[in-house]
């Protein structure tokens, strides 16, 4: 099969269906391993006590929230350059998961901040940037919902994602500048404790779990998107799962 044939939703639909469970299982295994490392093996931190164990999910979610946005921007560039529907559908499938990861990062970050630094929300550089990232995700979702024509929505969200992706480093740099100015000492509220290597391993394993989870979820979601948007096609009507609904 040539690579460009993958750009056809009809070809990609079954492939995604075969790949997604594989990614889901691997994500599950990594998650169990990561949590085991994080809770059973990693020692108590000298400064933060047990509270630091939140980082295993917080850091993974934060990394994924940024990475997913970049991948979304990548698919958006492809969608605008080659005018392929599937590229836009891939971008569309990533947005909710990206917003989810951002929310988890914010929630777990707040619960980490309270016992460690005494406050749920401290307007530090990383958390404030994460909040703005959440707004960017919501913006893409709101734009998708507001535009009725799916093709126009594809292109509009692609432009918005790219403009947002270009802005993210600028936003992060400006928020960090603003924060160090007003907090004086450059102690980040959510600074991780000095990393024993086992803690770092736990974080990396959880990050891998989050990555494979995101891929699995995106593949499942793009299948639904393909069904929604290709529903007048003959190949969709011929699918066993569609026929099962009819009967």
């Amino acid at each position: 099969m040539k690579l460009y044939q993958l750009a056809s939703p009809a070809t990609f639909y079954p492939l995604a269906g075969r790949l997604a469970p594989w990614f889901a299982w691997v994500a599950g295994i990594f998650a169990v391993a990561g949590l085991w490392i994080g809770f059973a093996i990693a020692p108590t931190d000298f400064q933060q006590g047990e509270a630091y164990r939140i980082i295993f999910i917080h850091v993974a979610a934060a990394w994924m929230s940024m990475f997913i946005y970049l991948v979304m921007a990548f698919w958006s560039v492809l969608a605008l350059s080659f005018n392929t529907r599937l590229s836009a559908m891939m971008a569309q499938s990533l947005v909710p998961t990206g917003a989810l990861m951002t929310f988890i990062a914010l929630w777990t970050g707040a619960l980490w901040g309270k016992p460690t630094w005494g406050t749920y929300w401290a307007w530090d550089a990383r958390m404030t940037s994460e909040l703005i990232l959440l707004f960017l995700y919501f913006g893409v979702m709101a734009l998708r919902n507001a535009i009725e024509d799916p093709r126009r929505a594809d292109r509009a969200c692609a432009v918005l994602s790219i403009v947002g992706a270009v802005n993210i480093p600028i936003i992060y740099f400006s928020v960090q500048w603003w924060n160090t100015l007003h907090q004086g000492a450059s102690v980040s509220v959510t600074a991780a404790p000095k990393m024993a290597s086992i803690m770092l391993t736990g974080m990396l394993v959880m990050a891998l779990a989050a990555w494979f989870y995101a891929i699995a979820v995106a593949l499942y979601r793009v299948r639904s998107i393909i069904l929604e948007r290709e529903r007048g096609a003959a190949w969709v009507a011929a699918l066993p799962e569609t026929k099962a609904v009819k009967s």
Partner: protein, 238 residues
């Protein structure tokens, strides 16, 4: 299109960038001048919002002076947003925008002309009023100069970024709030460096870093935003 033909005969490159800029800006300015009261209302919104903050907090001089850069900047952002939805909407509604997009003139240049007119009618008046409003808040001397300068450099960036959002949300339900959701996060760096400059001066430091970054941002926006906005216009017209 006789206006374009006339302009074209005056310039050297008939379908060039400058001709497009001049035509688009001139037309939008002429249209804006016909409804001067609308411009006045937009400016009045800015003044009222700025006046609300002391009423909601306290008239204590030190507090106001500390708040001033932030208040002036946020109010400028909101006032800019209000007028942005009209940047393309009226032309879109009566089909003029489609004609503009079909013309042989480069669309980014035409869009830049519209953005320039928008800034001249919305941003520039706010810059002119800034010293007065700053004084109301107890800002003096260098801080006053810096806040005005930062608005002068920064408000065009708001128009440029906002134009992208306005083009993306053409004819869409819930346009105004959606536009705010899309544009405001992108404007955070401008807000931080714009308001931060006056803060630096009040703390006795130099605002040159802030202003340099704002200028850099303006240059990047001048180069990039018209193309992004033009692409967004074509997407909305299809």
């Amino acid at each position: 299109m006789t206006a374009i033909a006339h302009t074209a005969s005056v310039t050297e490159t008939p379908f060039g960038v400058l001709a497009a800029l001049r035509w688009a800006a001139g037309r939008d300015l002429r249209l804006a001048m016909r409804s001067r009261s609308e411009l006045g209302v937009q400016l009045l919104f800015y003044v009222i919002v700025v006046s609300l903050f002391p009423l909601a907090t306290s008239p204590e001089r030190n507090l106001l002076a500390a708040m001033a850069p932030g208040v002036l900047w946020v109010a400028a952002l909101l006032a800019s947003l209000l007028s942005l939805s009209r940047l393309f909407a009226t032309d879109f509604a009566d089909g003029t925008l489609e004609q503009i997009a079909l013309s042989p003139y480069p669309l980014p240049a035409l869009v830049s002309g519209k953005i320039a007119a928008h800034w001249l009618t919305t941003g520039l008046p706010m810059v002119v009023l800034a010293p007065l409003l700053g004084m109301q808040y107890g800002l003096e001397g260098e801080a006053l100069a810096v806040i005005t300068l930062s608005l002068l450099i920064g408000s065009p960036i708001l128009s440029l970024l906002g134009a992208i959002g306005a083009a993306l949300t053409l004819g869409v339900r819930g346009g105004g709030s959606l536009l705010a959701l899309l544009v405001l996060p992108l404007c955070v760096p401008v807000l931080i460096f714009g308001a931060g400059g006056a803060d630096m001066v009040r703390a006795g430091l130099s605002a040159s870093a802030n202003l340099s970054l704002l200028v850099a941002g303006l240059l990047v926006a001048l180069v990039g935003a018209p193309f992004a906005a033009a692409a967004a216009v074509r997407i909305s017209l299809d």
